[in-house]
Symmetry: C2
């Protein structure tokens, strides 16, 4: 498989490059304030060339949103199906969630805030993943309450609160590799699991 140093970019890696650049710029300025020309400039091509890879600006936004909704469903949720107590499984999920979020920080900022700009079909698709993820977290909370590990709370409200705290990390975390997330994972895990643990009122 011979590759040259400055060979023409394949279509697949161009798409990845476009999505990545778009996420970074949109996170800074907002979706509607960013033009196709801005995205094109960031990767050194002309605006019109973007339409060879995506049929519209909204398709790029859709791709960004999928990386922070479809990916977490596929990569993080299996941890909830693994062996272990609800405490252990939720702990694993919190760590994976924050690490994935650090890896795709700007995509999270965009995907969490710019959903109103999606077409109704794409919006429903993205929201479907979000709701499913939320439901799976709620289910592990319910399991932990049944087993007596977790105190009695409204599992729906607790799931929303937990995910808000986790997703909020995208607004201020800095760094690029997994170790940069260690402190946050430890602190947030202690705070959330401590709050869930059954004990004296």
């Amino acid at each position: 498989m011979e590759e040259r140093v400055a060979r023409r970019k394949s279509s697949a890696e161009r798409q990845t490059e476009i999505v990545s650049a778009a996420a970074r710029i949109v996170a800074d300025h907002g979706y509607a304030a960013v033009g196709m020309r801005d995205i094109a400039d960031a990767i050194g091509i002309r605006g019109a060339s973007l339409y060879h890879h995506f049929s519209s600006k909204e398709e790029i936004l859709y791709a960004i949103c999928l990386t922070v909704t479809q990916e977490p469903v596929e990569q993080n949720l299996p941890l909830l199906d693994a062996a272990g107590t609800p405490t252990e499984r939720l702990t694993a999920l919190i760590g994976a969630h924050i690490r994935h979020l650090l890896h795709r920080r700007v995509e999270y900022l965009v995907g969490l805030h710019e959903r109103p700009a999606l077409t109704p079909e794409h919006r429903a698709d993205v929201d479907g993943y979000l709701h499913y993820y939320n439901r799976r977290v709620r289910d592990v909370l319910t399991a932990g309450m049944r087993s007596g590990e977790f105190r009695a709370l409204d599992p729906g409200l607790a799931a929303l609160g937990i995910l808000d705290m986790l997703n909020g990390v995208s607004g201020w975390i800095r760094g690029t590799d997994d170790t940069d997330a260690d402190d946050v994972v430890a602190s947030h895990t202690a705070l959330l699991l401590g709050g869930l643990r059954a004990g004296p009122t």
Copy 2:
């Protein structure tokens, strides 16, 4: 103080009306996607008439942002100065924060997500209130850890996590009056204070 039913709107109440309508529309579609004409249409005047009340679209956004940064600083933070233990004062703040947020739900959605569209000066102003609010929360956490009520955590990370959970409520809470917030206040308070409380690891 005589008022007529359909008298001409005063400048002050027109400004409030504009800010309120703008917040609602921008929360739905995003700041840059909303035109001055859209805001004007919502209150039944022409786009050009908005410039009698605000010198630019950005000034309207700035006004929205202040209602969710300046107001909480002035209305909620005094609760942290009142008598009581750190637990009691933080509990009071959580309740006030969520109730204020319910009262200004759409303004929170805009103020938390659209800050990049502010001018650097206004952005610095708004961020100043946010940082101060965050610092005051961090300080009450530190006080609670010193007193032994709260477990030892990084107070800065815990403050960020707590505020992320609280502000996230604006994304899904429904209702208009204070009683609609009661369940959320009770659940989030139990979860957060339980997580902070010192106890067996």
